[in-house]
Structure formats: C-alpha cells, structure tokens
Symmetry: C2
Subunit: 221 residues, 2 copies
C-alpha cells in the first residue's frame, strides 16, 4: 500500500487492451494481419491466459476475429459495411448536441492548441503513422465534449471500427496524405474557433462535415 507501483490484474488488462487497440488503430496491425498469441504473450511478459482475455475483449469490440487452428486476425470491412458505420457515426455526431453537450475545459483547449504545431510540422515530412496518432489524439479530446456516457462509448467504438480502415487508404496512397494533413489542420483550427466561443454545437457540426467529406474522399479515391 506504498504507492502506485503495485499494478493489479485489472491494470495489466487495461494496459494490454489499450496498447493492442492502439496498434490496431495505428495500423501497426493492419486489417487482415494475423496475430500470434504466443508472441504477444511473450512480448508483454505474461502467459497466453490473460492475453487471451484481452483478445476476447477486442473480438467483442469487433476488432479481432479468432478461428481455431488458424489464427486470430485483425478484422477488415468492405465499403458497404463501412458506409453503414459512417452513416451511423454521422447521426451520432448530431446527437452530441441533443444529449448533454459539455463545455470544453481549459485542458481540452490547450490540448487542441498543442495539436496544431505537430500537425503543421508534419506537413513538411508527411508520415502516415504520425498522422494517425495525431488524428486519434484529436478524436479523444473531442470525446470530452460528449456528456452522455453511453453515447461516448458508442462513438468511440464506431471510431475504432472505421478510422483504421480509412487510414489504410491513406497508407496505401489511395488518398493523398499531404492533402489530408492540410484538411486536418484546418479542422483543428475551425474546431478551436468554435470551442473558444463556447459553441459546442458548431464544433459538432464541423466534425460532422469533416466526417462526411472524409468518407466521400475515401469513396472516390
């Protein structure tokens, strides 16, 4: 009971869960990739048993799929399934304002401002993975605007379902990374403008618009 150095089983679980989920979202494990339970367990210094619990959770979240005797694979999504999820995400973004919108605190605004710099710098030396990381950080800051907890959970879930597929198109250069960075930088700026005015509704509308357009570019690209 000295301090936080002691880690419980739950903490270990959360840590592994977040780590692997992040890798999936950042395309370190791209859709279709086969994961090895034994390798992952060895890497994290645990046995297969607790690791399998993490994988089971990720399977429940729709990010993995295990088949006995074959392997566990990162799920993929066709354009039709992707469109369904995108359409739902659009509607969910509209619900943010109807259900307990939250005024951003100073830390959130500071976090958004802190995002602008690295994004601009990234345009000089575009890197898909760094872009993915910034995108994810931006999204998680925006999650703070959602006061309705179930809606927040669902929104996050849908984000992880779709964004990695979208990012795949950026990685494969079907979508121009420089262009996306330019748009992303503008999205951050517009969102900041809205939030500085305390206009959460405007921020939500901006996010909706960018979400819609990003899917259009994915479709056309």
């Amino acid at each position: 009971m000295d301090d936080a150095h002691e880690i419980s089983a739950r903490d270990r679980f959360e840590r592994l869960h977040r780590e692997i989920r992040t890798r999936i979202c950042l395309l370190d494990y791209a859709p279709g990739t086969r994961l090895s339970e034994a390798d992952l367990a060895a890497e994290f210094g645990v046995s297969r048993t607790p690791l399998r619990r993490v994988l089971a959770r990720l399977e429940g979240e729709g990010l993995l799929h295990s088949v006995q005797g074959v392997g566990t694979f990162v799920t993929d999504a066709g354009i039709e399934a992707l469109e369904q999820t995108y359409r739902l995400r659009l509607e969910l973004a509209g619900l943010v304002v109807r259900l307990d919108p939250v005024m951003p605190d100073a830390a959130t605004l500071a976090g958004l401002e802190a995002l602008a710099g690295p994004t601009r710098r990234l345009r000089e030396a575009p890197d898909p993975r760094a872009f993915a990381a910034l995108n994810m950080e931006f999204f998680h800051l925006m999650l703070g605007l959602i006061g309705n907890e179930p809606l927040r959970e669902v929104t996050e879930r849908m984000y992880f379902q779709t964004t990695r597929i979208w990012l795949k198109s950026v990685f494969v250069s079907r979508i121009d990374l420089r262009h996306e960075l330019q748009i992303f930088e503008r999205e951050i700026g517009e969102t900041l403008d809205a939030l500085r005015l305390g206009d959460v509704q405007a921020a939500a509308l901006i996010q909706r618009a960018h979400l819609s357009m990003s899917f259009q570019r994915l479709r056309d690209g």
Copy 2:
C-alpha cells in the same frame, strides 16, 4: 461431417453467451447477484477456462463486473445512468427510419401476431418472468426492422443495459405488472397495425413513445 450434431468451440461459446445473457435479462440473475464461475462451469459441463471467456465478453458488454478475490457480479445502474441510456435509446429509435428501415417480412408479422395471444392470456395469471420473456421476444422481432447493422448492434446492447433494470422495478412491484401487461398488449397491437400498412416509420414512432413512457413510469413509480 455427418450433420449438425457436431458443435464447434464457437457454437459452445455462442450458446453459453446467449444463455447467460438471457438469464441476466430475465432477472434469473438480478443486478447485484454474484455468479460463481465454478458452479456455472459445472452446470454447463465445461471447465472454467471457456466459461471465463464468456464472462469476459459479458463484462465487455457492461452486464458483468469481476473483482479478483471477491467475485463476478451482475451490474446495476442508478437512475441517472439509466436516464442517460434511455435518452440515447430514444434517439436511436429515431434513427431507425433515417438509416435503412426494413419492411417486415411475413415471418416477423406472424411472430408478432403469435405474441398477442400469450400476452393476453398472461393478464389472467400475471407472471413477471413470463412477461420479461415476451418483452424480449417482441424486442428481437423489432430489431429486424433495423437495416443498418451497427445501429442494430448498438440498439440491442442498450436494450440489455436498461430493460433488466426496468424489469427489476416490475419484479419488486414498484411498477404494477397488470398495468404493464395491458400497455404491452396495446403496444403490440399498435405496432402490428402500423407494420401491416408497411409504415415502418409509424412503428418506430410507437416504439419511441412507449419507450419514453415506460421510463417515465419507472421514474414516478
């Protein structure tokens, strides 16, 4: 490879998952109940290992909560958390029409008609658990109207989160069962009328209205 008598590991998992989830929803395992991994494993004739996978999934769905050294408990929800989920459910019900509403097939209509009889009969000898079962069957038939798959998943998830809490109030007689049966019977009838006309929107609106009113009764009761 003879026929369907051979059950795969996945089938076993699905079966256990559905069975336990149903028990939770029907309040065989009421909120706060402690489940014994050993007992459940013994009952289903498997070891703790595959059972724990099922429990992990249910924990991911927000229905269970495990604490090392203490036990795994069926989750409960306060009135505030419940209201948040109900408000989200209301909005989701409104999205059904915006996102791929599906015309009910003959089997669905037949299923709804088949529900009317038992419901009316139940009013003569009210039984909370039988009511819960009919309610669940009704809901699953209505899920068929949702063409957007992610929306269907989320809607189902939110149903399992809230309905069991609502049913708890019926079990404890904080809500009058006879009255609820009367209302439920009317809801089925109204829904059938709308669906026979092919008016999915009307059916969705009816469901929204009843959802809203049921929460009001829970709040006031």
